[in-house]
């Protein structure tokens, strides 16, 4: 397996590399939707890799370890579905029945609030703030209804694409390390050790981060479910699941998770204290998350200053919306590893040049 590239000038190599990267990037951009199950399978294989490595030691053969994992996973999933589907279905059924009531109560609350605000702040009545809000809300609702069939088709298409994930994941789990080893043979000798070192650091950091945020989401979801059930909030399981998933999004996530709980509990209790109770509960959950869970989980992964994390999240959010926010922090961590490594490499080569030229 040779890595040496002889016969090309540096400029030719640069041009070839640029052309190759551009063509590859263009092809990937065109087939993004088709790559979604491969991307998800790659992430899952990455997360499950260490577990499969340990199971391979137990079962001696990697294919056996992967097969056992699949059997266990599908059995647990079937059991959880059998356990939770009736409860969640009941909650969704109740929610859908009461939804029109919530809508009319919401409208009533809105009308009462705007009336009292218009009386207290006449300027608001003069510039017709309430009419403008109503017009915008109607416009968004109309757009949503118009786009509903397209959204439904897209959701169905995503589900059918995702059904390929277990199949692709199976092969990634079995042959992932071999695929990586094969890919690494194409790296030129000159950059080989640096690349191996870099890939290992990125792999360790990314793996720890991904596992960390999943554990964090689980802890936040569990705490939310516990506290909401204790308070007596309806649909606690659904709201807790949403809060746990939303926690994957930096900064915006915790707020997004609290909003449904505030709305549902306020509709039930109809007092302002209920709003403060829910806000206080989620603030406590976030406090536990930030003070206890995050330091434990992230101490081994992303080594970035909090201000850099905030900057990365802002840049990610402005370029890629919600998905940008989700991937911004791990990408910033990876970028830091790459920059640090390349800086060290450049400094070393520069030092070597100086030493050679001085002699």
């Amino acid at each position: 397996m040779t890595g040496s590239t002889h016969g090309f000038t540096p400029m030719q190599k640069l041009i070839l590399t640029a052309v190759g990267v551009s063509i590859t990037g263009y092809i990937f951009f065109k087939i993004t939707n088709l790559l979604l199950p491969f991307f998800i399978s790659f992430i899952l294989a990455y997360l499950l890799g260490p577990l499969i490595d340990r199971m391979e030691f137990l079962f001696k053969k990697r294919i056996l370890a992967v097969s056992v994992l699949y059997v266990v996973f599908f059995s647990i999933s079937a059991f959880l579905i059998w356990l939770t589907v009736p409860i969640v279905t009941k909650e969704i059924h109740t929610l859908s029945k009461l939804f029109p009531t919530y809508i009319s109560q919401g409208k009533q609350l809105y009308q009462t609030t705007t009336k009292s605000l218009n009386e207290r702040f006449p300027l608001m009545a003069q510039i017709h703030v309430d009419e403008k809000i109503e017009a915008k809300a109607s416009e968004y609702t109309r757009e949503l209804i118009k786009e509903a069939p397209a959204i439904a088709i897209q959701v169905l298409s995503i589900f059918s694409t995702l059904s390929l994930v277990p199949f692709i994941l199976f092969f990634f789990l079995i042959q992932g390390p071999d695929m990586f080893k094969r890919a690494v043979t194409f790296i030129p000798n000159r950059y080989f050790e640096t690349s191996i070192h870099l890939l290992y650091k990125i792999s360790t950091q990314l793996g720890n981060y991904l596992r960390g945020i999943l554990i964090e989401a689980g802890v936040v979801g569990g705490l939310s479910a516990g506290f909401l059930l204790l308070i007596g909030v309806d649909y606690a399981l659904i709201i807790a699941s949403v809060a746990g998933l939303c926690n994957l999004i930096p900064y915006l996530g915790p707020i997004s998770g609290a909003i449904p709980a505030v709305i549902v509990f306020y509709m039930k209790m109809k007092t302002i204290n209920s709003v403060f109770l829910i806000i206080g509960t989620f603030a406590l959950i976030q406090f536990i998350d930030n003070m206890l869970v995050q330091p434990m989980i992230y101490s081994q992964s992303i080594d970035l200053h909090p201000l850099l994390i905030l900057l990365a999240a802002l840049i990610g959010g402005s370029f890629g919306g919600i998905w940008g926010l989700v991937v911004a922090v791990p990408l910033a961590g990876i970028l830091k590893v790459i920059v640090t490594q390349f800086y060290a490499e450049i400094m070393f080569r520069h030092q070597r040049k100086l030493e050679t030229s001085s002699h």
């Binding site: 397996m1 040779t2 040496s4 340990r54 030691f57 050790e193 191996i196 070393f348 002699h359």
Partner: protein
């Protein structure tokens, strides 16, 4: 790839057997049984170097050890004047760079291919993966590595004592 039993040369050794026979010559791996050596061979990276191509420079961050499968390697260090001083030459069945398997300290010497050379690389990330996948085999490798490093340390101490005695006289 499995050898075709009808048309294929049944006496042709496949790559894994070649690698295993090389590993058996290395002190770190010579006590390990055949099946485990086959397992280990999957962690090795095959690299080829042309004549006078540098494998790594002195003071470069190291990633692991190399085993010479074929060809010849020159190990050298820079003296105070900046000239290369050859320390030793290594042929097939030898290894170098083993300290980098343990730590990230810079390489203590430079390695250059004197001929068209094929090397088998065993790197720190692969050792970490081996520790996860087969802790028993990994601990065997680490134990043998410790013996090799301990032996080298003793030889270095002996040499230092000899030099100190020489200077004192």
């Amino acid at each position: 790839m499995a050898t075709d039993p009808f048309w294929g040369n049944i006496f042709k050794r496949n790559h894994t057997q070649d690698i295993v026979s090389v590993l058996k010559q290395i002190p770190i791996f010579n006590d390990i049984n055949f099946l485990n050596l086959v397992k280990l061979s999957k962690f090795l990276h095959r690299r080829t170097y042309f004549r006078n191509e540098v494998i790594f420079h002195e003071k470069e961050p190291g990633v692991g050890l190399y085993i010479v499968k074929s060809g010849e390697i020159k190990i050298s260090i820079s003296n105070l004047e900046g000239h290369d001083c050859e320390l030793t030459r290594l042929g097939p069945g030898t290894f170098f760079g083993e300290i980098s398997l343990i730590d990230e300290a810079p390489r203590s010497a430079m390695a250059t291919a004197l001929d068209d050379t094929e090397l088998l690389g065993f790197f720190r990330p692969d050792l970490m993966t081996l520790i996860d996948r087969d802790p028993r085999l990994a601990s065997q490798v680490l134990y043998k590595l410790a013996i090799v490093l301990g032996k080298r340390l003793r030889e270095t101490n002996k040499e230092l004592k000899r030099l100190q005695t020489g200077v004192a006289q």
